[in-house]
Amino acid sequence: MAEMKLPLEGIKVADFSWFGAGPICAEHLATYGATVVRVESETHIDALRTVQPFAKGKTGYNVSGYFNNYNAGKLDLTLNLNTEKGRELAQRLVAWADVFLTNFTPRVVERWGLTYDMVSATNPQIIAAYQPMQGYDGPHRDFLGFGQVLTPVTGYNHLSGFPQRGPIGLGTNYPDYVINPGHTLIAILAALRYRRRTGKGQRIECAQLESSVCPLGPAIFDYTANGRVQERTGNGLPYATPHNAFKCAPLSPGSSAPADEQWIAIACFSDAEWEALVEGMGVPDWAKDAKFGSAPGRKAHEEELEAGISAWTADKEPRALMEDLQARGVPAGVVQSAREMLADEHLKERGYYVYLDHPETGRSAYDGPPFRLSKTPGRLRAPAPLLGEHTEYVCREILALSDEEVADLLVEGVLQ
């Protein structure tokens, strides 16, 4: 079959990023056709390579599912940027690239000569995207935000969860996976288009603080316009009742293990949806009470109403329940764990998860392309690279070094 043209075919990306926000963005560029060289170093290892899960029975830098899922389809170059020759080679890679990306801290970017002044001197047309935590100027410029620190700073912890709990957050480094890589991808694509029209590159700064705060805009706006400090309020929504997750029968009868819990999310936004839910529950007496007959009445007695629903779902299997409720026009969805996500028939039919053979992990699942283009569908073209897998290839084919030069650099510890 003839290879289809992908939108970014011919676009070259120098990916000097690590952890989540940078590598995911660059992976999406690779998925739609760009040639992406991921620059790493054994002396400055991407911590994700050291974090579980590791493929069953395997250890080392190449078997982390966390790392691998964000780096499919990239070429991997190891380069010690603490050496002068390493920094020179970095500039040669910049000269080759259309897009440069980094989420290193401003201090490290400066130390390694990767500031916009430096990279644009090497390549005036470069699109250089920086993802500092806080921005390249300002009093908190050098504050750190790895791991779970950015999520509380940007407001998610204060606003998530139930009021009787502390600000525990969302259980993940939430903005790292869609919000920050996604915003950066948008900025890069806009800049690529502008460059195509005008020949001009530019500097992009996607400060993760600013990018992550945007999705909480309504809460910030409520403060600046009304002076109200919103609090966390659990799972409710002012204009929907019910609007919550309801516990179903455990996966193994009688089990109380967390992994055996099953939940269904149910929400009603209108009288019609509520009436359909009541029908679905078999019109129990409690639900016929006149106080549940209007939206304000349901909201006023929300706790009682949700207790009634919980009692009804407690011995049900959530998938069948979801199918029945959706068929009746009631918004409902199983609260799926990763186990259910991987087995989800709908996702399977759409081919969302992609299974790739990797030399060290064997076959494993990757998140597929984030969006689908009908005529130029993106593809994960290769599994995540081994650390330094393409160092010699990149040196010869992209940086145009001779075999002798490569051998010398290897001996000098520049390519590690």
């Binding site: 599912g65 790895f146 509380p152 869609v178 400060a207 990763a338 709908h346 984030p370 969006f371 283009l373």
Partner: protein, 430 residues
């Protein structure tokens, strides 16, 4: 307001038919300079009725939720379900590069305005469809408010304390994430069109968008059949660990991630406690040695040698209590800024007020003033997600009133006769 800034998208017209799930997508395009025309039903976009409201006045012009999603856009009203409305939309669609919609799959096809129909009018059109489950598959027609998306997309399972139901993330995170992915998909298709002249249909699913935000959960099940469950503040850490998690201060909370890669080691926190006279018995053995390089690796070692696990956990709990007492006596900004100056991974748990007053965001003038003559006020809007040096993000105009640009778009740009427009208005088409 700055309408004449250089823009990456100033030659692009977008028709915005989208509901809540897609309006942040079109906002992103509009704030980068695209001419985004909202096509609202004659009764107005129902999202205009959602709280919170300016001064709590429940009025379709005053929804802060809606205003935040609709900066830089224009608005026309038009009833797609009436034949005259459809004809008018077709004239508009002939001028559009991009259409963004979020109807149930097949709805626009039923009106003759699906991808095939639009491509007959405008062969290189890009149609971006933003829905809960995408255009195909057995769940394509499921109703998908945000809560259903975050449930079926795997992120709700991971959020919350084990004693509570799984948590719904605040402020429609499923919708926002899907919009971000939709904007990226739209620009990817636009870049392809610029080169090859070919439009296409972009299919974006909330469920698929959110999957990657499960962090390591999907891979853990795939590789090890090990299930990550919601674990409150600890995330991936299996036990109570000093310096990790939420700590209460005199005036709020901070959140620590001390002892993990990327920040100063635990010994730095110990030094801080010592300098402030708050280290208690951590300066003595066995704690002194224990705290020096306390980190995630300590845990790995403890779990490898189960015989020492009980004692290890006791020590962890004691150290954690000392940290709790230290932080409880201080203010949240003091702990945040003081900790960060020592390169300790500690963050303030910001309230919306803290964000509005954050010195970094203020220095960078993140909040963005937008004049609202109809309110007689200038409102401070949430600001840019990114800064492009040559083609800046900007709020190019305040969000529109319903149908504010009917005359400009229909009369001036499409050349509809004034009499015809009057007839359409009388017939309830616009």
């Amino acid at each position: 307001m700055p309408e004449q800034l250089p823009s990456a998208l100033d030659d692009v017209r977008v028709l915005d038919l989208a509901g809540e799930i897609g309006q942040y997508c079109t906002k992103l395009l509009a704030d980068l300079g695209a001419d985004v025309i909202k096509v609202e039903p004659p009764s107005g976009d129902p999202v205009r009725d959602l709280p919170p409201f300016y001064h709590d006045e429940a009025d379709g012009q005053k929804s802060l939720y809606w205003l935040n999603l609709n900066t830089s856009k224009r608005s026309v009203t038009l009833d797609l379900e009436k034949p005259d409305g459809r004809r008018l939309f077709e004239r508009l669609a002939a001028t559009a590069d991009i259409v963004v919609e979020s109807f149930e799959p097949g709805y626009l096809d039923g009106l003759g305005l699906g991808y095939e129909g639009l491509a007959r009018i405008r062969p290189d059109v890009i149609l971006t469809s933003v829905t809960g489950f995408g255009q195909t598959g057995p769940h394509a027609h499921y109703k998908a408010p945000d809560i259903v998306g975050v449930a079926m997309g795997g992120i709700m399972w991971l959020a919350g304390d084990a004693q509570d139901p799984p948590n719904v993330p605040p402020w429609r995170q499923g919708f926002i994430s899907t919009s971000i992915v939709a904007a990226a998909g739209t620009l990817m298709a636009l870049y392809h069109r610029d080169i090859h002249g070919e439009g296409q249909h972009v299919d974006v699913s909330m469920q698929e968008t959110l999957s990657i935000a499960q962090e390591t959960a999907m891979q853990s099940w795939d590789m090890l059949q090990s299930l990550r469950n919601r674990a409150g503040e600890r995330g991936m850490i299996p036990v109570n660990f000093p310096g990790i998690g939420a700590y209460e201060c005199t005036d709020g909370w901070v959140f620590g991630y001390v002892g993990t890669p990327g920040g100063a080691p635990w010994s730095e926190l110990l030094d801080w406690l010592k300098e402030e006279g708050a280290a208690e018995d951590l300066t003595e053995e066995p704690y002194l040695e224990f705290c020096r390089d306390l980190g995630v690796r300590t845990l790995v070692e403890m779990f490898q040698d189960r015989s020492k696990l009980g004692q290890g956990l006791q020590m962890l709990n004691h150290v954690d209590d000392v940290v709790k007492r230290f932080i409880a006596a201080r203010g949240k900004w003091e702990v945040y800024e003081g900790g960060q100056r020592r390169r300790l991974l500690i963050g303030i748990v910001s309230t919306p007020e803290d964000i509005a007053k954050n010195p970094q965001l203020r220095h960078r003038q993140w909040l963005t003033a937008v004049e609202h003559p109809e309110l007689g006020e200038t409102l401070q809007y949430p600001g840019p997600p990114y800064r492009l040096a040559e083609t800046p993000w900007a709020v190019r105009r305040r969000p529109p009133l319903p149908g504010e640009h009917n005359a400009g778009v229909f009369l001036d740009e499409l050349g509809v006769e004034p009499g015809e427009l009057e007839r359409l208005r009388a017939a309830g088409v616009i």
